[in-house]
C-alpha cells in the first residue's frame, strides 16, 4: 500500500511542467535515436551526461529513462521498415516485421510493435512498483562485504554471460579497472598511474570514458567500414490494427513481459535473450505456425512487449541494488555518481522524490510514446534518410562538446580521443565494450568496499563472506563461473539418457 501512496506522490513530481518537459524531450530523443542506425540508447545517454552539470537530478533521470524506453519503441520501426535493426533489442522484430512490411502489412506490424512496447512497458513498470520497494527493504541492511559481493557479481556477469569469448570479456574488464585506478587513491591519497601529471591526479572522468568508448569508438569503427549504399525504407501509412489482428496479438502482448522482465533484472545481456525466447514461445503457441518467417504478427507483438518489459526489469536491479545489467543502466549509474547519489537499497529512503518521480514519469513517458509512435511512425521513418556523414560527424561533435564540458580542458579532448581509439581497437578485435565501462564505473567503488570490509575484519578474508547476503551472491557467482562446465555435464547426461 505504501508504494501506492509513494507512487501518487511520484506523479506529483513527474507532472510538474518542467519534469513533463524533460520526459517529452527524453521520449522524443529516444525515439529518434532508436530509429537512427548507429546510435543506441547507451551512446545517447553517454552523450547527454554533460547535462548533469547543469540540470537537477530528477529532471535528468526522467529524461534518461525516457530515452531508454523511447529507443525501444523507435528501434522496431527501423527493423520493420528497413530490415536493419536500429537496436540490438529489435533484431527479432525484423524477422517477422520486415516480411509483413514487404507484403503491405507494415502499418499493422508497426502498430503491433508500438502497442506491444506500451503493454510490456506498462506491465514491467507495474512490476517495478510492486517489487522494487520489497527488494530494497530486503537489502536495506547490507554493508561493505555485501556491496563488494554485488560488484563482483556485476564484473563476473558482464564478462562471462555476454559475448562469445570469456577471455576477451575479462580483458575488457581489466582495461576498465586499470582506467579506474588512475588518480589519487581514495583512502591514502597516493598517486596511482598518474605519471606525475596533475590533471591525471583527479582520475579520468567517467563521462569521458563512457563517451569515448560508446560514441567516439563507435563513430571511428563505423567510419572504417562505412557502408556506401544505404537501404531504402519501405513506405508505410499510419499504423492500425484490424479486429483479427488484435485477436491474434493480445495474448502475445501479455506473455512478452513475463519473459522480458525477469531477464532484464538479471545481468544476462538486456533485451536480446528475452526477445528471442519470446519469439520462440510465440511460434510454438501460435495457431498460424505456417506464417512464421513470412510475416506472423505474433512474432512482432510478443518480442517487442518483452523488450520494453526488460527495460523495466533492468531498472529494478539498478535502483535497488546499484547493479547495472545493461549498457544503458551502466551509463545511468555513472550519472548517479556524477550527482554523488549512491543507487542501492537506501535510495528509496534517501531520495524518495527522485525515485518515485522517476517511476511515475515512466508511466507518463509510455503514454507519450504511444501517442507519438502510433500516428507519427511514417514521419519517424523519414529520419532514416539522414546522410551518414552528417550522422557520424554529429556524433563526434556532441562527444567533443560533452568531454569539453566536463572541465573546460583541451587535454580531456585528447584523452577522449585516446579512449575512443581504444574503443575502436576493441570493436576490431571483438572485445566487448560493456565490461570496460562497468570496470571504470564500479572499480573504484568496489575497491573502497573491499578495503572497508577488510578493515572491519582486520584483514581476515572471512570478513568478505560473513553475511548471508554475501554468501548467497557468491554462490550465484560460482554458478556463473562454473556454468560452461555444468552445461557440458548436463548435455552429456542428456545424451546418455537419450
Amino acid at each position: 500500500m505504501d508504494s501506492l501512496y509513494s507512487l501518487i506522490d511520484g506523479f506529483g513530481t513527474a507532472l510538474t511542467p518542467m519534469n513533463l518537459l524533460w520526459a517529452a524531450v527524453g521520449v522524443l530523443l529516444g525515439t529518434a535515436i532508436g530509429v537512427l542506425p548507429g546510435i543506441g540508447p547507451a551512446m545517447a545517454v553517454a552523450l547527454l551526461l554533460p547535462v548533469t552539470y547543469g540540470l537537477e537530478p530528477t529532471g535528468a533521470f526522467i529524461m534518461f529513462a525516457g530515452i531508454y524506453y523511447g529507443a525501444m519503441f523507435g528501434g522496431s520501426t527501423t527493423s520493420i521498415l528497413l530490415n536493419t535493426p536500429g537496436e540490438s533489442a529489435a533484431v527479432v522484430a525484423a524477422i517477422e516485421g520486415n516480411p509483413m512490411a514487404k507484403t503491405g502489412r507494415g502499418a499493422q506490424a508497426l502498430a503491433a510493435a508500438a502497442i506491444g512496447h506500451f503493454a510490456g512497458g506498462m506491465i514491467g513498470t507495474i512490476l517495478l512498483v510492486v517489487l522494487a520497494p520489497t527488494v530494497a527493504a530486503l537489502a536495506v541492511d547490507i554493508g561493505a562485504p555485501d556491496y563488494f559481493a554485488l560488484m563482483v557479481l556485476a564484473f563476473i556477469a558482464v564478462t562471462s554471460v555476454l559475448g562469445s569469448s570469456r577471455i576477451r570479456g575479462l580483458a575488457s574488464l581489466l582495461i576498465g579497472l586499470t582506467i579506474g585506478l588512475v588518480g589519487l587513491d581514495q583512502m591514502t591519497g597516493q598517486q596511482r598511474l598518474t605519471f606525475g601529471s596533475l590533471q591525471l591526479a583527479d582520475g579520468v572522468d567517467v563521462v569521458i570514458v563512457a563517451v569515448g568508448l560508446f560514441a567516439i569508438g563507435e563513430a571511428l569503427w563505423v567510419a572504417a567500414h562505412l557502408r556506401r549504399t544505404t537501404g531504402e525504407a519501405i513506405p508505410v501509412g499510419r499504423p492500425w490494427l484490424g479486429r483479427d489482428d488484435v485477436r491474434r496479438t493480445w495474448k502475445s502482448w501479455l506473455r512478452g513481459p513475463l519473459i522480458g522482465f525477469p531477464f532484464g533484472a538479471i545481468p544476462a545481456g538486456g533485451a536480446e535473450i528475452p526477445t528471442f525466447l519470446s519469439y520462440v514461445t510465440e511460434k510454438r503457441l501460435s495457431k498460424h505456425k505456417e506464417q512464421f518467417g513470412k510475416g506472423a504478427i505474433e512474432g512482432v507483438a510478443g518480442p517487442e512487449s518483452a523488450a520494453s518489459a526488460s527495460a523495466a526489469g533492468t531498472l529494478v536491479s539498478m535502483l535497488t541494488l546499484g547493479l547495472p545489467t545493461t549498457a544503458v543502466a551502466a551509463v545511468m549509474l555513472a550519472a548517479f555518481q556524477q550527482y554523488g547519489i549512491q543507487p542501492g537499497p537506501l535510495l528509496f529512503e534517501r531520495e524518495p522524490d527522485l525515485v518515485w518521480g522517476l517511476i511515475a514519469s515512466l508511466f507518463v513517458g509510455m503514454v507519450l510514446l504511444l501517442a507519438l509512435n502510433l500516428p507519427l511512425a511514417p514521419v519517424w521513418a523519414k529520419l532514416l534518410r539522414i546522410p551518414r556523414p552528417y550522422l557520424y560527424a554529429g556524433i563526434l561533435f556532441f562527444a567533443a562538446v560533452g568531454a569539453y564540458a566536463v572541465g573546460g580542458e583541451a587535454l580531456d579532448l585528447v584523452i577522449l580521443l585516446v579512449i575512443g581509439l581504444i574503443g575502436l581497437g576493441m570493436r576490431r578485435y571483438g572485445l566487448p565494450v560493456l565490461p570496460a565501462v562497468i570496470g571504470v564505473i564500479l572499480g573504484p567503488a568496489a575497491e573502497q568496499q573491499l578495503r572497508r570490509a577488510l578493515q572491519i575484519s582486520d584483514g581476515s578474508l572471512t570478513g568478505l563472506v560473513n553475511t548471508p547476503f554475501s554468501v548467497a551472491v557468491y554462490t550465484v557467482v560460482l554458478i556463473l563461473l562454473a556454468w560452461p562446465l555444468l552445461r557440458k555435464v548436463i548435455t552429456r547426461r542428456r545424451d546418455v539418457t537419450v
Binding site: 542506425p37 547543469g54 556523414p389 579532448l413 571483438g430 573491499l450
Partner: protein
C-alpha cells in the same frame, strides 16, 4: 596446416590479434611497476593498502594477455563488431579514421584560441568531409548552424560554460 615460414607477412596479418595480447601484457607490466614503486611508508591504514588492488589488476592483465595469445595461436578470433552501417566485407578504410582523428585533434588545439562556435563548426565540417560529404554550400552552413545552436543551448540554457572566443566577443 598453413606454412608460416613461407609467408611471414601474411601470417602476421592473419594473427594481428596477437598485438592485443602484447598491449595487454605491456599494460600489466606498467600497472605492476607503478604499484610496486608506490611509497610504502604511508600504507599504515588498514590491512589492504593502495597497492593491493593494482597488484591484482596487473597480475590479471598478465594472465589474460597470455591466455589470449594462446587462444589466438590455437585459432581463436575475436569477432569484429557488426552494425547497421558497418560493411565488414570491404577492407577497413583507415585513411578516414586517421583524417577524423586529425580533425578531432585540431579541434582540441583550436577551441582555446578560436572559441567553441568556430572550432565546433570546423570539427563538424571537417568530420563530414572526411566521411565523404562533398556539398560545398550545405556542409558549412549546417556546421555553423549546429555549432551556434549547441553553444546557445549549453552556454545559455543549460548553464554549462563553453568558450565563446573572439566571434562571440564581436557579437
Amino acid at each position: 596446416m598453413n606454412t608460416p615460414a613461407k609467408n611471414p607477412k601474411n601470417w602476421l596479418r592473419e594473427h594481428s590479434e596477437l598485438g592485443v595480447g602484447v598491449l595487454l601484457f605491456l599494460l600489466g607490466v606498467l600497472v605492476l611497476t607503478d604499484a610496486l614503486t608506490l611509497d610504502t611508508d604511508v600504507t599504515g591504514r588498514g590491512p589492504v593498502g593502495p597497492a593491493t588492488v593494482p597488484l591484482v589488476v596487473g597480475c590479471g592483465l598478465l594472465v589474460v594477455a597470455v591466455l589470449l595469445t594462446v587462444d589466438v595461436l590455437r585459432g581463436g578470433r575475436g569477432e569484429a563488431e557488426a552494425g547497421e552501417d558497418v560493411d565488414l566485407t570491404e577492407p577497413a578504410d583507415w585513411r578516414t579514421v586517421l583524417l577524423l582523428a586529425g580533425v578531432f585533434l585540431a579541434f582540441a588545439v583550436l577551441i582555446g584560441p578560436l572559441g567553441f562556435p568556430v572550432a565546433g563548426a570546423l570539427l563538424f565540417w571537417g568530420a563530414a568531409y572526411a566521411l565523404g560529404s562533398r556539398h560545398l554550400h550545405r556542409d558549412p552552413l549546417i556546421a555553423a548552424a549546429l555549432s551556434l545552436f549547441t553553444y546557445g543551448v549549453f552556454d545559455k540554457l543549460l548553464g554549462v560554460p563553453l568558450p565563446g572566443g573572439p566571434l562571440m566577443g564581436v557579437i
